[in-house]
Symmetry: C2
Subunit: 228 residues, 2 copies
């Protein structure tokens, strides 16, 4: 087993059988000690954040697998904060996919001339490129195709999957009286037939959730969902 990538919130190791081991860290994204799922820097370290993020990821990925949604998930060891996954090829050098139900975060900042905070967005999907030095610029279908990052067919499939998965997570949260405002995914091509699958994690760090109009921090979200 050898470490092949050191990420902001996870490390990645290659396993001898060709699969990968993701090690969830206690570092979370944010700025100046304040958590922000849209930030590109590690803002703070919270004891137990890695295990909590993995516990929620395992919970959601297993629900998705049951519903026949393709993911890279194999299994997870919550105590060790590790998850075993299938190898995946990312789009370009990494592409995020955000499904938005209400206007907050970068969407609100970018289109502030036209929207109000919390305005409904009807499962709007956008594709920000992972490029810290350019503040993750959103990219259109046409630009993804012309730059060779993905095909039109892949774009449509990823967009449909993002909406489908977003709706499942939104419904899970609603069972606990929590409203999902937005959620960030990553997809990749998995297996020999390069089938599109959800990769990475689904934890509090990937979404903005509100209860009674108040934003819920990731660790609290994990408690509300998993501790009945």
């Amino acid at each position: 087993m050898r470490r092949i990538y050191t990420g902001k919130t996870k490390d990645v190791c290659a396993l001898d059988d060709g699969n990968y081991l993701l090690k969830f860290k206690d570092d979370v994204t944010g700025e100046n000690g304040v958590f922000d799922p849209g930030a590109n820097t590690v803002g703070l370290t919270i004891e137990g954040a890695g295990r909590a993020g993995l516990r929620l990821t395992k919970h959601f990925l297993e629900i998705l697998e049951e519903k026949g949604i393709p993911t890279h998930y194999i299994d997870a060891n919550v105590e060790e904060a590790t998850m075993t996954v299938k190898p995946a090829e990312v789009f370009g050098n990494g592409l995020e996919v955000i499904c938005r139900y209400r206007a907050v975060g970068s969407f609100l900042r970018r289109y502030g001339m036209y929207d109000k905070e919390g305005q409904p967005l009807d499962a709007f999907v956008e594709f920000p490129l992972k490029d810290d030095s350019r503040q993750d610029p959103p990219i259109t279908e046409d630009a993804l195709v012309v730059l060779g990052i993905m095909s039109s067919e892949e774009y449509r499939e990823v967009k449909n999957l993002a909406r489908k998965i977003g709706a499942i997570i939104k419904e899970e949260l609603a069972k606990k009286g929590i409203e999902l405002y937005d959620i960030k995914f990553e997809f990749g091509r998995v297996g020999e037939d390069r089938k599109i699958a959800l990769i990475d994690e689904i934890s509090g760090g990937n979404m903005r959730a509100y209860k009674d109009g108040k934003y819920i921090e990731p660790l609290m979200l994990e408690k509300l969902i998993l501790d009945a």
Copy 2:
């Protein structure tokens, strides 16, 4: 006749018959005295730039009218640097439409991780919102619809028109051995049936054109095209 808008490179007056008079100024966009068609500030003033821009706009708009492309154009007085146009309703608070044949300018800066300067882009169309304070953020079809700026049908029509007009201008330039790299349009809803038409100008200030691999300044471009 009363002035209703003072723009960076044009003033707009309302005429008594309901039409509008555009007054082309000698100010051009750029920064620190250097012309840049993508800039949001007036960078320099060039004696005669207004008349030259109008001369080229008149030339191109009359070619487009002949080919049946809807525009807001009625007539022009080059000596006075004025153009009479039909009233138009813009999309939102103003939306630019750029048709790109080669990667330069903001496209190159934004997607620099994936493209090379001058890389062919196959008539790629993008829609930057006119919002100086947010550096004219590009917007996707889905975001235009969810924010109520235009419908999907209008998006498709504008995109088709931009490609059609871009191809005509590109061909006109090619007759003089000049290659069009990109061109910026503005569209609006014109008349009682709110038909989509090209509005604003088509001059050297709206495009990047190259000859023998060298960028041509707007005034030189106007000379090369109009002075046979």
